[in-house]
Symmetry: C2
Subunit: 456 residues, 2 copies
């Protein structure tokens, strides 16, 4: 073992203790009542950055919760600069959600460190911190590094796009590295080289000026019925999206990419674990894994109208709401897709109700080609520390900031994630495998070495 790996192995227990200390701070970004905890968590991180030798460490104002920044730029001007992104804020968590232990009192059970934020994302940020610590404490780092750890990821990274735009010089780099995703199993890493964009919308259908007694029914186009009639026509019977132009800008999958992607398809057992014996549904002509990562979707995320609680109320509802989102793939543009959906909704609107479609939020899709040197460096780094070569996947979810790094800073983005499928992110008993924590630190150390050999 070379010195940085030795150092990481020797200090492993301390690393876990430090992570536990950080996890004790309930840095919930979605609730202003936790503003002080957010600041405590940011200062905790900044202190650790200073202690391990990062420079220019500062809490930078964003308009919301601060960004924690630190860098080390002494690898030399001919060496690449890696911009590392992560977040120190966490999802809310209360015992009532089903935790077996208070969410902000970390405990270790078997190989798992259980606490809110353990895997999403404090544990993975700590991997990045402890990798650079291990390098600097035993000599030097082969690449220049800049850390941008934000405090608003769980509340939509509201201020980050503007922050990136305002700090282009500070954030100048050759590639962006993010540890905020998962792998397939402890033995099977996955390179997530693409993420879908998102467009979220609200469809509001109104009829009578107020809820009526349903005994009045017979003359009124019930908004709950009308919204169903409209929503039902947003897909073709075959499962493809029935919005004119929706697929126009979707990049075609090459045969090579399809082969790569399909190596990582769900097993039937995985499918059954969450779907039971229900058959697969979806756009014809594509496999499960293609539909989930490389094809766009239109989903209904919520419906509400009238009374739907226990029992029954004789209400003819005045309004009905559907929350609708599209997951988008390169080169779809969320703003353009919104206009297409809006046009389709207009087409479907009967004269007997009033209809409004609102855009709620959006984020662009992102992709770093599998043959990009920064991606291939990640493949080699994973391969060095895991029993199996990594698989390739395109993530079905969205991390809108990834597209910002690509589009605003022109950086390839590499997702080097270490969370296991049972890490419970956003749910009760969130946890992080201590084996993955250690293996992650080693993988990042190797990744920096692999990147150093690339042309800056």
């Amino acid at each position: 073992m070379t010195p940085p790996f030795e150092y990481a192995a020797e200090h492993r227990e301390r690393f876990v203790r430090q992570l536990s200390d950080w996890l004790r701070i309930p840095s919930i970004s979605t609730d202003l009542a936790f503003k002080n905890e957010i600041l405590r968590a940011a200062h905790w991180l900044a202190d650790d950055m200073r202690r391990i030798g990062l420079e220019n460490v500062a809490l930078l104002e964003t308009g919301g919760h601060p960004v924690v920044y630190g860098d080390w730029l002494h690898a030399g001007p001919d060496k690449p600069t890696v911009l590392i992104y992560g977040h120190y804020d966490v999802q809310p968590a209360v015992m009532e959600d089903g935790w077996t232990n208070p969410p902000f009192e970390p405990v270790i059970r078997d190989d798992k460190l259980i606490a809110r934020g353990a895997s999403d994302d404090k544990g993975q940020v700590m991997i990045q911190m402890k990798a650079i610590e291990s390098l600097l404490a035993t000599g030097t780092c082969p690449v220049n590094v800049k850390y941008l750890i934000e405090g608003e990821e769980e509340s939509g990274s509201t201020n980050l796009t503007r922050f990136i735009n305002d700090h282009k010089a500070l954030l100048k780099a050759d590639l962006c590295l993010i540890s905020d995703t998962g792998i397939r199993s402890a033995d099977q890493p996955v390179i997530v080289y693409g993420l879908r964009g998102i467009l979220s919308m609200e469809l509001i259908v109104t009829g009578p000026k107020r809820d009526l007694h349903s005994g009045a029914g017979g003359n009124i186009h019930n908004p709950a019925q009308a919204i169903c009639e409209m929503v039902a026509q947003l897909h073709h019977p075959d499962g493809s999206v029935n919005v004119r132009g929706f697929y126009d800008r979707v990049n075609t999958l090459s045969d090579q990419e399809r082969v790569l992607l399909n190596r990582a398809d769900d097993t039937d057992a995985e499918w059954e674990a969450y779907m039971g014996d229900l058959p697969v549904w979806g756009e014809p002509g594509y496999s499960r894994v293609e539909r989930r990562g490389a094809r766009p979707t239109l989903e209904i995320n919520g419906l509400a109208s009238g009374y739907a609680g226990e029992g029954f109320k004789t209400v003819l509802p005045a309004r009905a709401i559907a929350k609708i989102s599209c997951r988008l793939v390169p080169d779809q543009d969320p703003k353009e897709i919104f206009e297409l959906v809006k046009a389709r909704i207009a087409e479907l609107t009967p004269p007997t109700v009033r209809v409004e479609l609102k855009m709620l939020d959006y984020g662009y899709p992102a992709i770093t080609p599998v043959d990009h040197p920064a991606t291939q460096a990640a493949v080699r780094a994973y391969a060095a520390h895991f029993p199996n070569e990594p698989l390739y996947a395109r993530g079905g979810g969205s991390i809108p900031v990834v597209a910002d790094f690509q589009n605003l800073l022109g950086l390839p983005v590499v997702l080097l994630g270490f969370a296991l499928p049972d890490s419970g992110a956003h749910g009760p008993d969130e946890n992080f495998s201590l084996t993955m924590f250690a293996r992650g630190i080693d993988t990042v150390i190797t990744y920096f070495d692999e990147v150093a050999s690339l042309t800056a």
Copy 2:
């Protein structure tokens, strides 16, 4: 003025005070927390019954909230017996629903007594009580009367059908009189001679075993989408119900009945008051008033799936619910209609989701012909105290107990209602017109006279 009318006029303020006292008791039947208030309201009524000279007054056990019973049977065996039905329970009410005054602290504003239950149904029960009081206090009553005032109307009269079945001898009568409906305006009474039946159902569509992150979308037939696709096919594009056999047992309207009914159609101004400029919708070939009272419907009363609150959640919902009800007309049978809807749902169920249709409740439609002597007596009673002759209407709503009185006791049922269209039943600022309260008492006194002249 004859003595009973004089008595009613003289004691009017006291009648209103008594009604107000009764309205102060929040006898909410849908919430067990109010069980004591229900009992207080029942005892209050029983005490008033005894005070005014009714006999055999008792709170009768039903298995749920008690029925308040009282009678006066001294008109003679050759005189008809009128069974009077009403209810002393009320809908829930809280300030947050938009009340301008605490709902259980009655106030008088202009001509209105404002409180939960003012028109539905305590105010109208008090009309019945004060009519018999005015008669007995000034002499005698020309008919025999039996009062059956229940405490579970707002929670579906759950126990009343069995209670009626178990007390056929006690409830033996010649006709049933109910004041629990409305009229068209202060000057325009309406004879509601028919009521629709009801069948309420819950449609549950499930997919994944638990809610998934919507980033997983693409392979799963989203239950929120599937329920929309199914619900959308429960009507034909023309607005008629798309359930095989649904209309098979519907009685044809005679030309004479259509003429009578259409005299009481909405004015355009009335339509616009609650629908604005939206056009009328519904089954082709029928007028507004026919569709609302004499034709059956299928309505969506509630929808729920995923997250539909403020903002957006990236959820692919595991289940979706629709509350669905049919309003039924003679001779549709709710149990048979349930089977027809179930068969249609089975037809519409795709293989990619799980679907369940549950019956929640039902009640039979009811009708008393317009030329029935008991109906014509009501026409004359209204005409005696209102500026205009009554119109004829079939109610769109359902009072399932009406069908029970018809079917179990073999009684013609007369609805002698006095609530104005703006009485706000089930809504905020429910109120009862004091003019209608007084006019109602007079009308009932006259009705008893009219009925006395019919053959027992």
